[in-house]
Subunit: 526 residues, 2 copies
């Protein structure tokens, strides 16, 4: 008798179990690692995944047989890109603190401009390749998965008329989520990304937060109007606005969850899937396991500044190594720079670490991290308290979340001394409140109705089955900003009130003149 | 090596699989039916459920051996309550349309006042029963499940220091969700419940919607300040505000989903679990199945105005029966009033219907419904287009959702003629767009990451495991309304701008006088 549910599951089997066609526009570095986990999940479910990348990609391993690739030729090389990123990192880590405000602003503008120019080269390589565009059109993809770290994926989806899903951690000041995604973000309790504020702000903080959002709105508006809208219009061959294209996203997959975020309003098509790459630890390589077991009851500390940091200045490396030598734990440090002179016997250097397996090891007492979202989620997953040494981008903000939630101590990379690092490590290892806090976050992370990766895959397949997710898209997209905030309604009501007051005052004056006018003029003439 | 996930699942097993203690403060009628589904789910999962009700409950079957009951003696009877509800219904169905605006407002105030007085009697019966209160305290319940159709459950939870979950469809104008739950509800695209608006409103509609929310805010504020805050203060024995108590709810379980709702902002602790009672159809009783099979290709129409409507006036009953006689389908009508004279042979009357099994029957072509949320969700679940005859409360709004989504035709009970009903039935049965629309909603309903009942049970158990869900509660609760809307920040910025303008103008005047003052005075003296 229950025909419908059976029919619907059959529908699902034919539409998705059979395997659909997914087109991917990925980001780089940690963005790619995160995206790859989703793509692996999709391939496991029988879908065909085609990735568009370019000849200079520093991250996407285009020799994988799991995925199909469309590789765009670009006039710069992987080395050029890496050099640019290294320069950016070096400036952020060492020079920015010494620079003037104006100097820093100019440098950041230069960095953003260079990035945008590289991005545009990739876009042009795609849209000018008529053969490839035609081929992509013929493939009739069912969904596009887009990391907006590189722009243009959204425009491609619109051109191919394929529903699309954005995957991101955030955009600066949440500007794109707010302006293009219509995500409500009350400045009174949703702190701007980049400030060391929590969701509890005093008046001065709320004031700064408000002005920050306003400045980001203006900045995005100006940047998009000058740099991107004309470019999108050129590529599309008709008037096209970037924010308008982005607003068509069916789902926004956000790379965090309520273990990390301060609770805030969301929309039905914003899905929080933080830590989707996390998994149980596997056994360590034999020699590493032996080193770890030799740590005894003191346990080990895992230390990594992420895949982008290859080396440090000798001064910074020595400061760190000397600190690590002063703690009773053994330390496993991912570092491929020159061996620091102060390196103590308790510390071992590795070019690469099985980070997730180490963080899941029962001997692990603390994690020294730059605060990238991926590593931070592995620490949450396995319940390891952190010492944060944030370097750039969202890392200070990420670690601020962990600090205010009581699970981390944060240090300033350019200013910290050995004793600061020793003190921070002793604090997170010996003060039980840090372990308790990270275990609380870990419980929240594990205690979800659905695993984050399963949820991400579910919504991707939902979009494939239903050719979008229009029932989750708010009508705010069709309102102007003043309509959205009811400013036209306010203005109308104010005008009505004004008119009523005007009529009342005028009527009173008229009556007053009628009644007392004559007697007054009589008095005057007397 | 993967110790933590194993530990966490063990933790879950000991904390919840073992069975926890749930205390319930239920509503009546359809509210109770919905709540009972959740409670059955909890009992199936091994939890012990204790329900607090009163001697006059018209809905809660207190002889069930599945649950424990605490039955409060009240000085009125089930008949008194039923009589009151009948009077309310009769006024709403027949007399309100004829009444003046002032008359209707006075009548509604009288109805609300009588309801509040009955509610307060139940509350007093609870809080004055020191023995029961002590017993409840000793039981150390892990969670309380509360339907705010009757108030005081929240105050009990606060008094017993038990985390609690609210389950509701809505409060009028979303006033409690907005004011006490901090649910963001932009009047520009979230239509007020009670208006025939969708999420696409023109200027006049947005204006009325804005004023509606404002009026509901004021009404709730006044009613709570006058009626409930003093009462809560009296019961609690210390200054207590209703909205403040309600705001402590860990989870708000909302009895709808995005198949029904227009997409709108939500908060992390608002979970949409509409249709949690829906399930596949079971075979019909033999004689009913035979009647249904005799309908041939034309199929059947299922007709129910809900459990609260026992009979109609003969005039209305005849109008309806005559219409039903004019369609080729067979009709199964839940009706226990006097048999209408115009009843045709294609229509059979029943005191009670296996409604879910009928709606899930492949022969069913349409559903004539009053538009209660439960029946409406069964129609969505099974994909049956509707003819709505809304009677009172949220029913017009519910059916408006279905109408605007293309899955129903709605009629005015007091004004409709036979031909209107015939036309409506023919439309939803023969115009394929209605079936397509309801099938679209049905797909959305079935295509969720988790079944609604499982999600409801998950969050109840989550609160039990974690003694609340504080990580989902926004800090907006700790802000005043002007702080929330940044009005203090605006005022400050305006003051700064005003001051700057004042200083500039004064400085200019001063300079002007300094420069030209002398020459001007010279000219004057000349």
């Amino acid at each position: 008798m229950h025909v419908l549910p059976v029919l619907l599951s059959l529908l699902c089997l034919t539409a998705c179990g059979d395997g659909g066609k997914v087109l991917v526009w990925p980001g780089e570095f940690s963005h790619w690692l995160n995206m790859k986990t989703i793509l692996d999940g999709l391939v496991d479910r029988g879908h065909t995944v085609t990735i568009i990348t370019h000849t200079a990609t520093p991250s996407v391993a285009t020799n994988s047989s799991k995925f199909n690739f469309e590789i765009l030729p670009v006039p710069f090389t992987q080395e050029d890109l890496n050099k640019h990123f290294d320069e950016v990192l070096r400036y952020w880590m060492y020079d920015m603190a010494e620079d003037s405000f104006l100097g820093a602003a100019m440098k950041i503008k230069e960095i953003v401009d260079t990035g945008a120019e590289q991005n545009k080269v990739v876009c042009r390589a795609l849209f000018s390749n008529k053969g490839l565009m035609e081929k992509l059109k013929q493939e009739h993809y069912e969904v596009m998965l887009i990391d907006p770290m590189w722009m243009c994926g959204d425009l491609l989806a619109q051109t191919l008329d394929v529903p699309f899903i954005l995957t991101l951690r955030f955009t600066f000041g949440n500007a794109m989520e707010r302006q293009c995604g219509q995500l409500p973000t009350p400045p009174s309790y949703v702190p701007g990304i980049g400030f060391e504020y929590t969701d509890q702000m005093d008046f001065a903080q709320r004031l700064k937060n408000f002005l920050f959002y306003l400045s980001q709105d203006i900045l995005l508006h100006v940047m998009v109007k000058i740099k991107w809208d004309p470019f999108y219009t050129e590529l599309a061959g008709k008037p096209t606005e970037l924010c308008d294209v982005l607003s068509k996203a069916d789902i926004w997959l956000i790379r965090t969850y309520w273990d990390f975020e301060y609770p805030r309003p969301l929309l039905p098509n914003f899905k929080f899937v933080g830590g989707l790459h996390c998994k149980p630890a596997k056994p360590l390589p034999e020699d590493m396991e032996e080193f770890v077991q030799n740590s005894g009851d003191d346990g080990i500390v895992v230390f990594s500044l992420g895949s982008m940091i290859k080396n440090l200045t000798m001064e910074r490396a020595n400061t760190i190594a000397s600190a690590l030598g002063q703690i009773p734990q053994k330390v496993i440090w991912r570092y491929s720079g020159v061996k620091p002179e102060t390196l103590a016997p308790n510390t071992r250097l590795y070019d690469w670490l099985p980070q997730n397996d180490l963080l899941g090891h029962p001997k692990t007492k603390a994690f020294i991290t730059h605060g990238g979202t991926n590593g931070l989620y592995e620490a949450i997953y396995h319940g390891v308290p952190m010492v944060g040494i944030p370097l750039f981008a969202d890392q200070p903000d990420n670690l601020n979340h962990m600090k205010t939630k009581g699970a981390a101590v944060s240090l300033d990379f350019s200013k910290m001394e050995s004793k600061d690092l020793v003190e921070a490590l002793n604090t997170v290892i010996n003060d039980p409140s840090y372990k308790e806090s990270i275990m609380r976050l870990s419980r929240i992370h594990h205690d979800q109705p659905m695993k984050p990766l399963d949820e991400a895959v579910f919504w991707i397949e939902f979009v494939m089955r239903n050719k979008g997710a229009k029932h989750l898209r708010v009508q705010a997209h069709n309102l102007s900003w003043y309509q959205y905030h009811c400013l036209d309604v306010f203005t109308f009501l104010l005008a009505i009130v004004g008119l009523v007051i005007f009529i009342v005052v005028k009527s009173c004056c008229f009556c007053f003149r009628k009644c007392f006018g004559k007697s007054l003029s009589k008095k005057k003439t007397q």
